[in-house]
């Protein structure tokens, strides 16, 4: 092997070792454990084949509910964050006053831990003394006051709303960067041709923003599928299992000591994310022509 071929390996060997040790090995071990009956009550690990996967995908409707909730959460929050992020970005690059201050305020929830956000919103959404219901009642809108996190109807939308509020600032920043990169010449030429706001938006802005939209979509979808903290802090999956998602079920399985089952759930999530990522990466690799 000549020096030119060896050097790349030589310089990257440290990173490769750490990558194999901390990323690849645990992932492979997790997949292996999903085929075993490993649990906290015994030191034995017996190979049981696809039994956990059969339980999750065919035997138990509860797990299907968790998968459905995860997909629903991902879809709704991804669309909401993208639409609101784009809207706010358009607003802030359009010459609104104190744009930098607004940008900072809207982005700030992103840097907070969901533990803090969750505790604050639990207090705000408290059905009896929470700010939201107290305000609604003081305005005579008692009929709109709800048990936001305790009712079957409102718990999941409330979590989605809080998560969207927290995450839209980051997507907005991505869009601002994308918008600022679009040459002004296009808009000037379009204005001369008599194009209105809608035409500029759909003929110039959105096509030119497609790479940013793709990145935002990938980020939103991968975050949505991995959601745990938002659900755990706000409702802990309740009422009943109404807001449980795959990762709260993984947590619950591990916590109960059913580690093989928890690993199988993680493996299913891994497969779903791998498939979606594959298609999105293919989409990203397509050339965008202007």
């Amino acid at each position: 092997m000549n020096a030119n071929k060896i050097y790349p390996w030589y310089f990257s060997s440290g990173a490769i070792v750490l990558y194999l040790l901390f990323i690849v090995a645990p992932a492979l071990l997790g997949i292996y454990y999903s085929f075993t009956d490993w649990n906290s009550y015994s030191s034995e690990k017996n190979f049981i084949g696809l039994e956990h996967f059969r339980t999750i995908l065919a035997g138990d409707p509860t797990y299907l509910l968790f998968i459905k909730n995860t997909v629903l959460f991902t879809l709704v929050t991804s669309i909401a964050k993208t639409v609101l992020g784009l809207f706010l970005a358009l607003l802030l690059v359009s010459g609104v006053k104190a744009a930098n201050l607004h940008r900072m305020i809207i982005f700030s929830p992103q840097v907070l831990s969901f533990l803090i956000v969750g505790l604050v919103f639990k207090s705000l959404l408290d059905p009896n003394n929470g700010f939201v219901n107290v305000t609604l009642r003081s305005m005579g809108l008692d009929v709109l006051a709800q048990n936001w996190l305790g009712s079957l109807t409102w718990a999941m939308p409330s979590i989605m709303a809080v998560d969207t509020w927290k995450g839209m600032g980051y997507i907005m920043v991505l869009f601002i960067a994308g918008l600022l990169a679009i040459p002004r010449d296009y808009y000037e030429a379009a204005s001369i041709d008599g194009a209105g706001f809608g035409q500029k938006l759909f003929r110039i802005t959105i096509p030119m923003l497609m790479p940013t939209i793709t990145i935002a979509t990938v980020l939103n979808i991968t975050y949505g599928l991995r959601v745990f903290d938002a659900v755990y802090v706000l409702t802990n999956g309740g009422p009943g299992n109404a807001t449980d998602v795959i990762n709260t079920a993984v947590y619950s399985s591990f916590a109960k000591g059913y580690w093989g089952l928890g690993s199988a759930l993680s493996t299913i999530l891994f497969v779903i994310m791998a498939v979606i990522s594959f298609f999105i990466i293919r989409l990203m690799n397509r050339k965008v022509e202007y």
């Binding site: 092997m1 020096a3 060896i6 390996w9 030589y10 060997s13 440290g14 070792v17 750490l18 040790l21 009956d37 649990n39 906290s40 009550y41 015994s42 030191s43 408290d126 059905p127 009896n128 048990n147 996190l149 305790g150 009712s151 079957l152 802990n236 999956g237 309740g238 009422p239 009943g240 299992n241 109404a242 619950s252 591990f254 916590a255 109960k256 000591g257 059913y258 580690w259």
Partner: protein
């Protein structure tokens, strides 16, 4: 030559990584000065809430130089977290676990994880009732202060007197007085589903009632000769809880209520009844002096129950981590905290329990309790006598919250209990389920 250099570099990187990892793990429970620090992991309700243990630990540090670092985790998380910590070798030097004779061996796996305390002088001084809950295969592993636990419904005497109502002796009476209280815009019964476990108590604390009505129920359940779903009386209790929720006897929007807020609601007379353990009077009247001598109690009347449910263990016990770097220091702390004077302090300055599982400490039960116990039959609660109930306590709590919200039926709750019992029996290779 180049290949040798490459392999040498690779080996160096591996060695460096290993040293780095080893470095991260060292000094876990000691400080730079060589002073020993013992970590003490516990749930919120597993440690006396008044903080007496923490106060005494500071004095212990001044006396011996050994620091106790408390890691207090919310109840709903600790029960699960400690299992993972034990399995991963990350458990604290001392850890609290809720114990009962049926689930402790599976939850703690004492032979692998706990220091054997059998030959310690203090184990001989613990009460006979508590020893089975902290023992396994004739060896003692845990130290507990927990009293034999009984849950009563505490009521506000003044409200009852003003409304001309008496403590109920049946579900029908319970419902009738609750309606009268509700009509006065007072929450009849404080319920706390947000804490995850509180709403489960009526189901299994009334266990002796099932056993009395249908003798042999516990044994049949343990032998897998009947299902929980076959217990019609249990279904009745669940239906009655749902009825209470629907009739507004738990208050409006009660799903967000926590156990901790119960004392406030009861003390401020927003709620007329509250499920608690003996000693509640002290806790309430300390925070709300006007409530002194204003509290009475009765057994929970769901399912027409009139029997006192007794849980012989029922609460937390301390275990020493067998894999601790400081087992001798752990034992020394256990010996210190169980000295007679220190036990007396834990009892006197603790959370207000009227008994403690150390016969040498004089109980503080009032004549009211003594008379009440004389006039009522007693029996062991279901979670302390039937396998695979206690480990799924929080899951049942979630299901009940789901039922209150309208997502589940009582039948589904019972079926889920059976399903989870079968899951755990399978994991533990219980021959009765094979």
């Amino acid at each position: 030559m180049m290949r040798k250099r490459f392999l040498f570099s690779l080996a160096s990187v591996l060695l460096l990584s290993t040293l780095l990892l080893a470095g991260c793990n060292s000094g876990k429970s000691t400080e730079g000065s060589g002073k020993v620090t013992l970590t003490f992991g516990t749930s919120q309700s597993g440690i006396p809430r008044t903080g007496i243990m923490q106060t005494m630990a500071k004095e212990y540090e001044q006396e011996t130089g050994v620091k106790i670092d408390f890691q207090v985790v919310p109840d709903a998380q600790w029960r699960d977290l400690i299992k993972v910590k034990l399995a991963s070798g990350e458990a604290p030097d001392i850890f609290n676990v809720d114990v009962d004779p049926l689930s402790m061996p599976a939850n703690v796996r004492p032979e692998e994880n706990a220091i054997d305390l059998t030959n310690e002088e203090f184990t001989g001084r613990m009460s006979e009732e508590i020893l089975p809950t902290v023992s396994h295969n004739d060896k003692v592993y845990g130290v507990s202060f927990a009293p034999t636990k009984i849950w009563y419904v505490y009521y506000n005497k003044r409200i009852f007197q003003e409304l001309g109502i008496e403590p109920p002796t049946s579900y029908a009476e319970f419902k009738a007085i609750s309606q009268k209280i509700k009509d006065k815009d007072i929450i009849p019964f404080y319920q706390a589903p947000a804490s995850g476990w509180y709403q489960v108590l009526p189901l299994f604390e009334t266990g002796p009632n099932y056993e009395q009505t249908t003798a042999g129920t516990y044994e049949k359940l343990n032998n897998n000769e009947m299902k929980v779903a076959d217990m019609t009386q249990l279904k009745t209790v669940i239906e009655q809880l749902k009825e209470f929720a629907d009739l507004g006897y738990f208050g409006k929007d009660f799903l967000s209520n926590t156990v901790e807020a119960g004392i406030e609601a009861f003390g401020q007379e927003k709620a007329a009844m509250l499920l608690r353990v003996p000693g509640t009077e002290k806790e309430v009247s300390e925070a709300y002096p006007e409530m002194e001598d204003n509290m009475g109690f009765f057994v929970m009347p769901w399912g027409d129950n009139q029997t006192i449910g007794v849980n012989p263990g029922g609460s937390a016990a301390m275990f020493g981590n067998k894999n601790s770097k400081h087992p001798e220091e752990v034992l020394k702390f256990f010996r210190w905290i169980t000295e007679h004077d220190h036990l007396q302090r834990v009892f006197d300055e603790g959370e207000g329990n009227l008994t403690i599982c150390w016969p040498e400490i004089e109980p503080k039960l009032t004549q009211d309790y003594i008379d009440y116990e004389k006039n009522h039959e007693k029996g062991t609660v279901m979670q302390a006598a039937v396998k695979y109930i206690d480990p799924q306590w929080m899951d049942i709590g979630k299901d009940l919250s789901g039922m209150f919200a309208g997502a589940m039926t009582p039948d589904q709750i019972l079926q889920n209990i059976d399903k989870r019992r079968a899951e755990q029996a399978k994991v533990l290779k219980d021959e009765k389920w094979q």
